[in-house]
């Protein structure tokens, strides 16, 4: 999954079109419930199952895309 695909997931889940590669999910109003929906979308699209702590550690589309790539 590349940065753009992860950004699209953020946009859908946050219901907010203003997501860039460096937008922090939790600063943009994401909470733990919405975070799980991002993680399930990533698992569906890439087969990589990240956990909540991974996401806290990499809360932007660019950081998350790197994490996915490193685990794929």
């Amino acid at each position: 999954m590349n940065v753009n695909a992860v950004s699209d997931v953020f946009r859908r889940v946050l219901e907010n079109p203003e997501v860039s590669a460096d937008s922090d999910f939790f600063v943009m109003g994401g909470d733990s419930l919405l975070a799980t929906r991002v993680l399930s979308a990533i698992a569906r699209a890439s087969g990589v199952e990240l956990d909540f702590d991974d996401f806290l550690d990499a809360p932007t589309p660019s950081a998350l895309a790197k994490k996915i790539a490193s685990q794929a």
Binding site: D31, S32, L33, A35, T36, R37, S40, A41, E49, D51
Partner: protein, 447 residues
Amino acid sequence: MSVVVVGAGLAGLTAAAGLAARGVEVTVFEARERVGGRTHGIEVAPGAWVDAGAAYLGDRHTALTALLAELDLKTTPTTMTGASRFALGGDDGRTRAGRFPPLSAVALGELFDALDELDRGVRAEAPWLSADAARLDRLTAAEWAREHLRHPDARLFFPLFLGEMMAADPADVSVLHLAFYLRSGGGIRYLNAFAGGAQENRIDGGAHQVCRRLAAGLGDRVRLGEPVRAIHQDGDGVTVVAATGSVRARAAVVAVPPTLADTIDHRPGLPVPRSGARTAPGCAVKVHLVYPAPAWREQGLSGWSVNARGPLLSTVDDSPADGGVGVLTGFVTGREAHRYAALPAAEQREQAFAQAARLFPGLPEPIGCHVTDWVHEDYSRGCYAALFGPGDWSRLGPRLAVPHQRVHWAGTETSTEFFGLMEGAIRSGHRVAAEINAMYRWRDIHD
């Protein structure tokens, strides 16, 4: 112009106050010896009140927020700092930062995605007209979960989530009702959240004060201990029969939960009942454990816990804002509420104490314990709210807010906005007051 209001909960009193402000002569009959209905305060220490019924609100609850301002009541944030406790396996509990349970995030994400999809498919203002309504109204949420949730963590969490959110057992609600409830309340994220969601604030000093202050403004127009048994209508009015006598008026507002509205003898009879055989009461018991101080905070814990086994399926810190006693509120919901409500009082206390001690090791014995059993309240029959079972929305939905000649309906279950919440009750009260004003004032001018 005169109107009788049946029920002195938030809906009935909002309606009565709205009508009285427009110069209508109102009488409110309330079955209990107190006003407030599903809001109720308990004084756990001198001057310290907790909510035995409804407690929380968020910023989208605009009618309630406006009413609080009018009545000079303040809110207090439900800020949670510290870690949570989770007992979701066979263990006594695990500590974790934040409110997120130690379950597979991917599995929970699938559950919330599926719920979000249900939410998006429903027409909130008329659920029975949603695409696929007939099928969704036939299926129970339990059947839906068996079909859609594969991961064991999602299956474990779904009933806990539903219990906490709507005090429902998944077998008791139709999928259409679940979808409607999510949409009506602002979606899963809003309904689930404390900060930025429907549990952002509490009412400082207790939610019961709202009805108390509304009733104070109405004075002796509110008559307690007067269960209404019958409402008979004829060409020019209604006769409302209560315990100690009857009152004649131009119209009536029935502001009681649907199953209770059906116990009133309506003449002529209702074309469609207010509830059906599958309309279940929401099942909630609230337990308040009172401690000398909120000692869990010193251990870095927020007081929040989620537990697979009862009686306390979740706990939250509801300590009064003034810095005195510590109050841990336990929620017993769904099927577990039935089991727990049937126990003798001593056993209820013992089970709650033992579980709190396992979850929060090192807590002293509570100095007080209050168990509020809404399951067996004759004049509520369903808390937080009525649960619409299979078939209910198709059959009852279209008439929920349609007057039966001179009998008008209010109550949180008649509101398609924020159904089941205080906000829904208040909106229904405003709606019915405006409805009556428009209908009968017009006739007064033109007759």
